[in-house]
Symmetry: C2
Subunit: 247 residues, 2 copies
Amino acid sequence: MNTSHLHRTRCQTCSLSSLCLPLSLSFDDVEQFDTIVRRRSPLTRGETLYMQGEKFENVYAVRSGSLKQTIIEANGEEQITSFYLPGELVGLDSIDSDTHPGFLTALERTTVCEIPFKRLESLSEQLPELRHQLYRCMSREIVDDRRLMRLLSSKTADERLASFFRNLSVRLDRCGHSAVRFRLPMSRSDIGTHLGLAIETISRVLGRFQQQGLLNIQGRQVEILDMVALSERAGIVTPCCGEQKHA
Amino acid sequence: MNTSHLHRTRCQTCSLSSLCLPLSLSFDDVEQFDTIVRRRSPLTRGETLYMQGEKFENVYAVRSGSLKQTIIEANGEEQITSFYLPGELVGLDSIDSDTHPGFLTALERTTVCEIPFKRLESLSEQLPELRHQLYRCMSREIVDDRRLMRLLSSKTADERLASFFRNLSVRLDRCGHSAVRFRLPMSRSDIGTHLGLAIETISRVLGRFQQQGLLNIQGRQVEILDMVALSERAGIVTPCCGEQKHA
DNA sequence: CGCCTAGTTGACGTCTGTCAAGCATCGTGG
DNA sequence: CCACGATGCTTGACAGACGTCAACTAGGCG
C-alpha cells in the first residue's frame, strides 16, 4: 500500500473500471495495466488537455467531469466533433497522423488518467484481452461517429436534439449518474456547434420540447419527463420489441 | 510456389500492398501475413459481401472495384455511411458489436481479399508493425468519419459535393487511377443518400459546377477541370500558407 | 449597481426538400 | 436495326425548415 503520490488511485478500486480499458482483464493483468497509468491533477473549466496539431503521446480515460474536442479548420470554422464523459477514452483519433486532430477542452472540473500510448501498445502485446479491448474501443468510436453522421445527414433539428439528449442520458446512466435528471456540461452554443444547428434553433426546439412535456430544462439543469416520446422524436421507433444487441 | 488455387495472388506482388495492411511489414512478415489472406472470386455489381446484423468474421481489403456500406434503421431509413475503393479496409466497424452494422454491396465488378479477423488479431500479437498498422487504419477511419461529420453538420450542398469529388479524386489518385478523369462508381442517388441531399439537389449543383467550368460530367464520366476552384468551393482555403491557431 | 456573457424570442430570407413532369441512356428482344 | 420499357437523371414550381440579424431578458460577478 504505497500511497506516496498524491493522486495515487488504482484501477483496481476505480468505480469506472468496468467501462474502461481494463474491462476484461484478470486481476493480475489490471495490476500490470495500472502501472503504466498516470493520474493527472484535475483540469479546471476551459483548460485544455492538448492542442490541435500537438504530437500524440498519450490517450486519456475520463475519470470525472467532461471534455469536448474542437477542430478548427484552416478557414476558421469550428466543429465540436465529440463530447467525452467519465469512463470514455480520448485520443484514439490521433494514432494515424501521430498528432492530435483537435483541441481537447474541459467543460468543467475534470480528472483524467493519462496512458502513454507507446507503453499501452507494447503492453497490449502481452495481454490479448487488452488488445481486443482497444480494438473494440476504436470500433465503437467508428460506430458512434456513423450514428452521428446519420443524424447530421438528414435529420431535422428536432430529431437531432432529441437524439442528442437521449444519447447523453444513456451515457450518463452508464457512468452512474441519473438518466433523467442531470446538469448539462456544455453550453447551448457547444450543442449547436456539435449538431450543426444555430444556437437560436437549439433554444426554440428546447422551448418546444418543454412546452410539449418532453423535458424540463432551466439553464443547464435538465429533467427528462418522457423518455419514450423523446426517443420517438429522435426517430427511434420501437424501444420494446427485439433488437439485436450483445457484447 | 504452390499456385493450386485459381485466385491465388500474393500480397508480395500486389500493386496495392503499399496502401494495405502489409504496409510496413518486412518481406518475411508479409509472407506470413499472406498465408491468412483468402482471395474470393469477384463480386458482380449489386452483389452483397455481407448483410446487416450478420456475425462478424472477416475484414476485407478491396483489390479492385468499389463497394458501399448501407445501414438501414428500424424506421426504414437508409444511410450510406461510406464508399470503399481499392486499397481500403472494410469491416473495422464490426469489431465492437461482433456483427456487421450494415450491408456491404459491390458497386461494380469487385474483388476483395478476405482476412479472418481472429487470425489477424493473433498474428498481430507477433507482428508489432501489423498491430500498429491496424490501430492506424482504425484511427484513420475515425478521422475520415469526423471529416464527413463536419461536412454534414453545417455545409451547403455546394460544399458537400465539392468536397466529395475532391475526396474521391484524392483517393482514386492514391490507388493508381487518374485524379482528374474517372468514372463515378456510384449513382447520383447513392451520392445523395451519402451526403444527406436529395437527388434533385445533386443534379442541380453538378449542373452549376459544370456551367462554372469546375468540372465536366456526362452520366458517370467525370473530368475535373479546375481542382483549385473545386477545393475552394469545398471550403478549403489555402493550399499553401500554413496557419497557426489556438484557443 | 452595472457590465458581460448566455440564452430567448421575433421577423425575414434563402437553401434545399418535395412533387411532378420531361428527357436520356441502356439492355432486351423482336 | 429499331422498338420499348425500365431506370437514372434533369428541370421547374412551390413550400417549409432553419440560418441570420436584431432586439431583448436573465444570471453571474466584480
